[in-house]
């Protein structure tokens, strides 16, 4: 679908022709994000450099009745940053200035295109960091994190993005600018910031974010615990959590993942002989850590595990880089990777993982697991080749079964990647039609005409899940 000529002219008037792309071969790189399974070509890509331009772009799109979608680095894994229905991509990567750092009050004001890791680096001299640390933090943007309510390994102790956003500036779908929340983190009335975080760019375009910064811990210890298999590692995680310890992170990496990472530039010397490795990070006052390490050692010994300690900060950083590079490293196994994301009550992890393994075996798929065990947040990764239609069909079928298995034990279908296009038609697994109607009302209050990132989160037409159960899955009607 091509953009109306008038719209292109209007967009070029706002940002100049350099920052407005419209030819098919130029647009192609924006046809998908981190999820290669779904794609859709935008009708134009426009790159604003300030809030004012964003507002004008939105108004231009409205004038020409064209939907639009904000995009950061496009590292999302649920198709949230692709433009459906011939929409315009508003690429926010160049809204990349850190506007203020207030060390005394532990906050920073940033534009949405600031890269997550760059923010932490910039505030380090103040003894602070930005706590949410999705694995893509080297590349992903704060704006994208806000849209997806991104998590990461350290959310176990520090919480997800929503716990760290104090205030926002939003360009509403009608082009008006609105400030929400307060730099104090409290809200005089309704918590609209909390409503916008995680709304996947469907209620407006965030153009400024005030974030809470966290003091760097006084001391950090990273343990590498070697288990015979993933299930015993999960049991140990449960034992640690119910003992009252709150590690900063608890991550499980299975054998196949270790092999892939160790073959990559992120090789960290992870042990190749363990069935699964549990990465435990503890932080806090130096005095408090040794007793915690001893408790964890004892709890893991019950499962017959061996505990190693990172020797120094350099080794600790290597471990984490390896953990965070794991997804990309799967590219060594096959041309494509489907990173699943689901959450189950932590105590149900062992049975769910066994079930996921069984599903993938049955569909003859290559499964690897690397996930946030402390939160019960699974990431079953399936390596495949999208050119193999049969394999693709098996990937899709297994994906659905995995989600059903998670929901069956009280879980949900996304813990941090979002719904996007990927899972919108699975929302019916978790929510009733009435639940979804309530969500639709929220969206409609912000965007009554459905122009802001349409086709995401909620099944369309609204109740197609009920009306036509066969419409679930990936076999949608093509555009």
């Amino acid at each position: 679908m091509t953009a109306p000529a008038g719209l292109l002219a209007a967009l070029r008037e706002i940002v100049g022709s350099e920052r407005c792309l419209s030819r098919r071969e130029e647009l192609l790189p924006w046809e998908c994000d981190g999820l290669t399974l779904h794609g859709s070509l935008p009708s134009a890509v426009v790159l604003p450099r300030d809030t004012h331009e964003v507002a004008r772009i939105v108004r231009a799109c409205r004038r020409f009745d064209t939907p639009f979608v904000p995009r950061g680095a496009g590292t999302g894994l649920s198709g949230g940053a692709i433009a459906l229905d011939g929409g315009v991509v508003i690429e926010c990567a160049k809204l990349d200035r850190i506007l203020a750092i207030d060390g005394a009050n532990r906050l920073a004001v940033v534009q949405p295109g600031v890269v997550n890791a760059a923010l932490s680096q910039a505030v380090r001299p103040h003894g602070l960091f930005y706590a949410p640390d999705p694995s893509s933090q080297m590349a992903c943007t704060i704006g994208g994190n806000v849209a997806e309510n991104a998590g990461g390994p350290h959310t176990l102790k520090y919480g997800t993005t929503t716990n760290h956003v104090l205030a926002l500036e939003l360009v509403l779908p009608d082009g008006e600018r609105l400030r929400l929340g307060s730099a104090t983190g409290w809200s005089p009335g309704v918590d609209l910031v909390g409503v916008v975080v995680g709304s996947e760019g469907t209620v407006g375009i965030v153009t400024e974010v005030t974030v809470r910064l966290t003091p760097l811990p006084e001391a950090t210890e990273t343990l590498l615990v070697l288990f015979a298999d993933v299930v015993s590692a999960c049991r140990a995680v449960g034992a640690v959590i119910t003992s009252g310890l709150v590690p900063a992170a608890m991550e499980i990496v299975d054998r196949r993942t270790i092999d892939a990472v160790e073959a990559s530039v992120y090789a960290a010397g992870l042990p190749r002989d363990a069935g699964a490795v549990l990465l435990v990070e503890l932080d806090g006052p130096a005095e408090a850590l040794p007793p915690q390490i001893e408790r964890i050692r004892a709890l893991c010994a019950v499962e017959g595990a061996r505990v190693q300690r990172a020797r120094d900060d350099a080794e600790r950083e290597r471990f984490w880089r390896a953990r965070k590079g794991a997804f990309g490293a799967m590219g060594r196994l096959a041309p494509d990777l489907y990173v699943h994301d689901a959450v189950v009550p932590r105590s149900r992890l062992p049975e769910v993982l066994a079930r996921v393994g069984e599903i993938c075996d049955r569909h003859r798929l290559r499964l690897s697991n690397v996930f946030h065990a402390g939160d019960g947040n699974l990431h079953p990764n399936i390596s495949f080749d999208r050119r193999d239609a049969d394999e693709l069909a098996r990937v899709v079928a297994a994906g659905r079964e995995i989600l059903e298995a998670c929901v069956a034990v009280g879980g949900v279908i996304s813990g941090e990647h979002g719904i996007g296009t990927e899972k919108r038609d699975f929302m019916g697994l978790v929510f009733s039609a009435d639940d979804l109607e309530a969500q639709h009302r929220l969206r409609a209050a912000f965007d009554p005409d459905g122009v802001c990132n349409p086709g995401k989160i909620l099944p369309t037409p609204r109740f197609c899940v009920e009306a036509n159960p066969k419409a679930r899955g990936y076999d949608h009607v093509p555009l």
Binding site: E25, G34, K94, A117, M138, R387
Partner: protein, 459 residues
């Protein structure tokens, strides 16, 4: 919405098995290489052109996406990819960031070769570039004449005058050109430099004398020095310094005289055939001499020679295995710490083709930390490109300047006395930039600093 690529193209529709039907077309040869990318995007923030433009199109992931789309026949091989292939600096920072091991530098070279083959790049500038890369740079006599001419211009201060009235594209090379060193510094290296006896036994005042003294058996081995093209003419002093430092560390240094330009610039410009010719000559030049390593003090040449196997599998691989950066070699064998010192605050800025192309990051820092008096300070983002990228600063001056400015800002913040970088392109670029921005730092090759430290012990 649709599933990506499904039925979009005859080459991939149907039940093509993984790695099965390989498409035909301009980029068919690199199709398999593009499949390594799983679209995770970790490369984006490492890419200078993405950081400058914010365009997925101008990112490594976007470029691989386009290459794959062309190979699959989803889009025509046309101007967009051709422009992007040349807008890319080829710094390969994305390779260091890539967990799935996409060999981007390789994909880029092949794409550029295909661009040239398809005639997608034309015009006077391209013809001039090709002439320079084929006829001048690899030809020692012509290169020397050209540098002589430059030296005269500089001496008569005509270069400054020319800057004022020349159009920007033509003025840029003049502005970038370093001051041509005096003839004496451009004198070729002796074919052999003898090793210095172990410093532990040589008294301080003996050093320079033992430099020439004959030692019956090389204590640490013999190395061959690769001298390249521009390096010899414009940075001959670095070669002399390299030879002296290696000698001081117990190496016999031999310079094979039939060697030629490494071909990197030509290959980066899409002229793979010519690069292959040069490589054949070099294979012969280095085949005869028995030596433990071939030392390459220019990061760009080193990276190219280490990947000689891509151009000539077999023979090339054998050559590649012998290539060493001098700092890497000194780190391996252990630097004999200079008795003299070099009191300065220094920033080491990684040449892309050393840190990304050859994956050498810590060795130079370890070696430099052993220089008495030298305070090594880290500046922000030392591993990002300075914008030189071979002849990129001539072909894409605006982008190059923007990238250079970002680099200089981070360097200025660290306020060093010295900026160290082991690649001629980077040295030229950083010198020109420092001059323009009025930075006080001296821009040097690390071997020059080591050499000064060894020589300082005499005085």
């Amino acid at each position: 919405m649709r599933q990506l690529f499904e039925g979009a193209d005859p080459a991939v529709s149907g039940a093509a098995a993984p790695g099965g039907a390989i498409p035909e077309g301009p980029l068919a040869a690199i199709y398999a290489g593009t499949l390594d990318c799983v679209h995770c995007g970790l490369c984006l923030s490492s890419c200078p052109t993405y950081r400058e433009t914010g365009r997925e199109l101008s990112s490594p992931r976007g470029r691989v996406h386009l290459m794959r789309a062309v190979a699959e026949g989803r889009i025509e091989f046309g101007a967009t990819l051709a422009e992007e292939a040349y807008l890319c600096l080829g710094c390969r920072a994305c390779e260091t960031a890539c967990p799935s091991g996409v060999r981007f530098g390789r994909l880029l070279e092949e794409t550029r070769a295909a661009v040239e083959h398809a005639g997608l790049r034309r015009g006077f500038a391209r013809r001039l570039e090709r002439f320079a890369l084929r006829r001048v740079i690899p030809n020692r006599r012509r290169l020397r004449l050209a540098v002589d001419a430059l030296a005269w211009l500089q001496r008569l201060r005509l270069d400054r005058a020319a800057l004022a009235w020349l159009p920007r594209r033509l003025a840029a090379p003049l502005a970038l050109a370093p001051r041509v060193p005096p003839r004496a510094a451009r004198r070729p290296l002796p074919w052999r430099t003898r090793p210095v006896m172990d410093l532990a036994v040589a008294s301080q005042s003996d050093v320079m004398r033992t430099h020439r003294a004959s030692v019956p058996k090389p204590p640490r081995g013999r190395v061959l020095l690769f001298t390249g093209c521009v390096m010899s003419e414009l940075f001959g002093d670095v070669h002399h310094a390299t030879a002296r430092v290696l000698a001081a560390n117990g190496f016999e240094v031999v310079v094979p005289h039939s060697q030629v330009c490494c071909g990197a610039l030509q290959a980066h410009a899409g002229d793979a055939a010519f690069a292959r010719e040069l490589l054949r000559i070099n294979l012969e030049a280095f085949a005869g001499a028995r030596a433990d390593a071939i030392v390459v003090n220019s990061a760009g040449c080193g990276a190219a020679l280490r990947e000689a196997g891509d151009w000539l599998p077999g023979e090339g691989d054998a050559l590649a295995r012998r290539i060493r950066d001098p700092l890497e070699l000194l780190d391996e064998v252990g630097l004999r710490p200079p008795a003299g010192s070099m009191h300065a605050r220094a920033c080491y800025d990684d040449p892309c083709h050393l840190v990304h192309g050859q994956r050498i990051r810590e060795a130079p820092r370890r070696v430099l930390r052993n220089v008495p008096g030298l305070e090594l300070v880290e500046h922000e983002d030392p591993t990002s490109c300075c914008g030189a990228a071979g002849i990129y600063n001539l072909t894409h001056p605006e982008m190059s300047d923007a990238i250079l400015e970002r680099k200089l800002r981070t360097l200025a913040a660290a306020d060093p006395d010295l900026i160290l970088s082991g690649n001629p392109g980077c040295l030229m670029q950083l010198r020109a930039g420092s001059r323009r921005l009025g930075l006080r730092a001296e821009v040097l090759h690390p071997m020059t600093v080591l050499d000064r430290a060894y020589r300082n012990q005499e005085s």
